[in-house]
């Protein structure tokens, strides 16, 4: 979107002079953090280079079942309440099913299921017949699966807007088309963020700018290691609604929307260059044919359905693929947050954690110390090349 277009419609007069907390990035992590802060009465301004949820936050599979995360319990506690807490629909639906037609993958996911059960979250094994009964779009080629009696999925785009609206309903501000250009420090603290529309003073800063976070933090002397990649999804015309729409497997993640569309992604990604302005394009590739094949295999009774669209999103990853959620030592009033490509579903909890880091300096509901930035302090400069992640 052109700056001219933005300038036509933006009113320049009402730029806030300052806020208790400035959040850079109106993705799902930044918006949730802002919302949690606003709920506690803090004055918050959220900046974004574009529109809320325009990047990975609005281009993902919508899953909400992250057993690996220290935020898992809080994620599970919060999702069923989010529609009421936010006041807007998220399309959250409970539970998930993973089905497989490959015996090795079935064994693999049965092991994942046992691991979750051991953590206290119930997972039931499904045999082929049970899987077919629960997933009417599959057939006898499905060898079985697992039924997660927890987790679920939601509509990423609707949820992002719900956070934004809920934040506004608390009286706080989101400035779209207003990128953070630089971060101003004084006395070892961040004191303001500069934008094309002016300077916004702050007492504390949250950087949740996805792939751009590293570029914003570098001038502060903070090495925030990220690599960006493009990933693709496809969506079909509506199929009859399944009782549990959070069905995936066969190398795919995704969901059936409440409208009935089958929306799935998976498979190889492409590491890409990134600059401050964000991705130059978000094209899909002939990979959509490999996605179509896997959806057709997983749901043979839907193989006749038309694919009506595809899309790509750009995702940032840390060197170990785990989030960085940390309050920095220098500057001391900066909290950094990236969920490393697994952020949508965890957002109710990640926002809570960021709120705690900003206000209290530590997460109140979980130990997240192993997600600190310090774990990368001895990272090799060529860490991307060492992993084959260079663009």
């Amino acid at each position: 979107m052109s700056r001219d277009w933005a300038a036509t419609c933006m009113s320049e007069a009402d730029l806030p002079k300052g806020a208790a907390v400035v959040v850079i990035g109106a993705g799902v992590t930044g918006l949730s953090a802002a919302w949690w802060l606003a709920r506690d009465g803090f004055d918050v301004v959220v900046l974004d280079k574009g529109i809320v949820g325009w990047e990975a936050s609005g281009r993902n599979g919508g899953g909400a079942s992250h057993y690996q995360s220290p935020l898992f319990a809080e994620e599970q506690r919060l999702w069923p309440q989010m529609d009421d807490l936010l006041g807007y629909p998220t399309e959250y639906q409970r539970e998930r099913i993973i089905i497989q037609r490959d015996p090795d993958l079935l064994d693999h996911y049965r092991a994942v299921g046992r691991m979750c059960s051991a953590m206290g979250y119930r997972v039931d094994d499904l045999d082929s017949q049970q899987a077919q009964d629960m997933v009417p779009l599959t057939d006898q080629s499905c060898l079985g699966g697992i039924h997660l009696r927890f987790g679920g999925h939601a509509n990423p785009q609707r949820t992002v807007q719900a956070y934004a609206w809920a934040l506004q309903d608390l009286g706080e501000r989101i400035l779209q088309h207003c990128p953070a250009l630089s971060i101003e420090t004084a006395g070892g603290k961040v004191v303001a963020v500069d934008t094309p529309r002016g300077r916004i003073a702050c007492d504390a800063l949250v950087v949740a700018a996805g792939p751009q976070s590293g570029m914003l933090l570098a001038p502060l002397g903070v090495e925030f290691p990220l690599a960006s990649a493009r990933a693709e999804m496809i969506v079909t015309e509506p199929a009859p609604l399944m009782r549990i729409g959070g069905v995936d497997g066969n190398g795919l993640y995704g969901r059936q929307t409440l409208r009935g569309n089958l929306a799935f992604g998976g498979g190889p990604h492409e590491w890409i260059d990134m600059d401050e302005a964000g991705p130059k394009a978000r094209p899909t590739s002939p990979l959509i044919r490999n996605l179509a094949r896997r959806v057709a295999e997983m749901f043979p009774k839907a193989a006749h359905l038309n694919v009506i669209r595809s899309w790509a999103g750009v995702i940032e990853n840390t060197p170990d693929g785990r989030p960085i959620l940390d309050r920095l030592d220098h500057p001391a009033n900066v909290t950094v947050a990236t969920m490393s490509g697994v952020g949508f579903g965890l957002s109710p909890a990640s926002g809570h954690a960021v709120r705690d880091l900003v206000i209290d300096g530590a997460c109140s509901f979980a130990d997240i110390t192993k997600l600190g930035l310090a774990r990368f302090k001895n990272l090799e400069p060529d860490w991307r090349e060492q992993r084959g992640w260079a663009a």
Partner: protein
């Protein structure tokens, strides 16, 4: 030593299944002529055309706005194939010149490398027929994809009998499968006038042309031909209502915009009484609407939207690319211009003023005008109280909205026609609500596949072993899925090694 990420796409996208010196998309006059010329120059040439389009797709208005006025003949593929040949004699010449002509084959995706996609071995085009999808490479690609109907909705437009000028012409001339007998045409530009003359030449009655502006938009010579045929051009009018029955449109009620100046048209000075005396001379022509002094009723079975066309550049748009040394637009796709945005906006505003709140904007997803203006979620979702305070106006307070954002919230444009029937309406509404020129509003994006293609046909059933071997649900970073409690413990390495990737739930 260069380390490879085995889960990255690099090296996994296969070369095209076939290659041609020249690939031409669209076997209209421009495409066919270009294909013949290239073949005569000694090039290997592939000429594809999506016609005959499967009946089911025509029913969902792809690629044109066919509006449900087709005869049963359309459901006979063999007859339609023959008809497509009959309607384009140059195809015989193309065959004779050695062109590989494939009908019933659509181009659903164009792929070229760019800043965020560098993994393609070469540029390629995705094709599909009723049996399978294939990828073809090209030395040169000529997109003779024509122009699509530019559609604005109005009261009752979502019933059989409301169509676009391209859909009308295709059903009439390419398929000989048009069920219309008596039409009213919206617009008075060259497209509308030519549509009228085409209809008249084929024995279809044209009850009237309707123009929101107070001057005829098209060439005087064409207008004179239309007038000479006794077809009234009703200036300064808009659609107030559509009369309908079990078979769709039965007539249209016209009115004058309450304030032409406000509607964006030039201030009208049409002589209403003279017009009525003129039009009342015909029993089948426009007649006063019962009990409505300022309305006219016209019996018709079809309303043809002929306000303008948009070049069919979806393949380029979806690829995020432009014409280049190797990729060209030719024919209508290169020469058709969208109508003057102010003209289109004037029509949209005038039609909108008479559209009841429950008028559908997006037919695929059944999004009403009220829901769109309210940025309300689809009907299958609850609308909590807070939603009542939300609207397009409140959304625009946050800055300029993108049509794709409206799509996300309301689902307008999210259906199988990729917003071909609603994208211009949404853009007009956004411009109107923001008080900005239509030309400044971004148009909703197109995405591959730009034609609906069934999963089982789009699928790559001959996937490369590298693709299969490197496939992971997500990024294939095993440490991403280590349960938090295990991080930094003796079990961690064992877990990473034992479970590996494919851990995404």
């Amino acid at each position: 030593m260069t380390v490879r990420d085995v889960h990255a796409i690099d090296g996994k996208l296969p070369a095209p299944d076939a290659r041609f010196d020249v690939v031409v998309v669209g076997a209209g006059s421009a495409g066919t002529a270009a294909a013949i010329a290239a073949a005569e120059d000694g090039a290997s040439v592939l000429l594809i055309d999506e016609n005959p389009v499967p009946g089911a797709l025509i029913g969902s208005d792809a690629p044109y706005f066919y509006g449900g006025r087709m005869t049963a003949a359309l459901q006979q593929p063999a007859r339609m194939l023959e008809q497509v040949f009959t309607s384009n004699p140059a195809l015989e010449t193309a065959f004779a010149a050695g062109v590989d002509v494939r009908l019933g084959t659509c181009a659903w995706g164009l792929y070229v490398n760019g800043p965020a996609l560098r993994a393609l071995p070469e540029p390629m085009l995705g094709l599909a027929d009723a049996e399978a999808a294939t990828m073809v490479g090209f030395g040169r690609l000529l997109l003779a994809t024509g122009a699509r109907d530019l559609v604005l909705g109005f009261a009752g437009w979502n019933q059989p009998g409301v169509m676009g000028a391209q859909g009308f012409a295709a059903l009439l001339t390419r398929y000989d499968a048009l069920a219309s007998r008596r039409i009213v045409i919206l617009g008075s530009g060259a497209l509308a006038l030519e549509t009228a003359l085409l209809a008249l030449a084929r024995g279809i009655a044209v009850a009237a042309l309707v123009e929101v502006a107070d001057v005829v938009q098209g060439p005087a010579a064409l207008a004179a031909q239309v007038a000479a045929a006794g077809v009234p051009i009703l200036l300064g009018h808009t659609v107030a209502a559509t009369l309908g029955g079990i078979d769709g449109v039965e007539g249209v009620t016209l009115t004058r915009p309450p304030s032409p100046a406000q509607a964006g048209a030039q201030s009208g000075n049409g002589d209403w009484d003279a017009l009525r005396s003129l039009t009342e001379t015909s029993v089948t022509g426009p007649r006063p609407a019962p009990g409505k002094d300022n309305e006219l009723e016209i019996p018709c079975d079809t309303i043809v939207l002929a306000l303008g066309l948009a070049p069919a550049t979806e393949l380029l748009d979806a690829a995020g690319t432009r014409p280049s040394e190797t990729i060209s637009l030719i024919g209508d796709a290169a020469t058709v211009n969208r109508p003057d945005p102010a003209y289109l906006q004037a029509w949209a505003t005038a039609l909108g003023q008479h559209a009841p709140p429950d008028t559908i904007v997006c037919q695929c997803e059944e999004v009403t005008r009220t829901d769109l203006l309210g940025v309300q979620p689809p009907r299958y979702l609850d609308r909590p109280q807070a939603m009542a305070a939300r609207s397009l106006a409140s959304l625009l307070n946050d800055g300029p909205a993108h049509p794709d954002q409206i799509k996300r919230l309301t689902r307008a444009g999210m259906g199988a026609c990729q917003g071909r029937r609603c994208r211009d309406q949404v853009a007009c509404l956004l411009a109107e609500q923001q008080g900005v020129p239509l030309a400044t509003v971004p148009i909703a994006s197109f995405r591959a596949p730009v034609r609906p293609v069934p999963l089982g046909i789009l699928a790559d059933w001959q996937e490369s072993t590298a693709m299969t071997a490197g496939w992971d649900v997500w990024f294939g970073i095993p440490t991403q899925w280590t349960p938090y409690a295990m991080i930094g413990t003796a079990e961690e390495a064992e877990h990473v090694a034992g479970l590996g990737g494919n851990m995404h739930v």
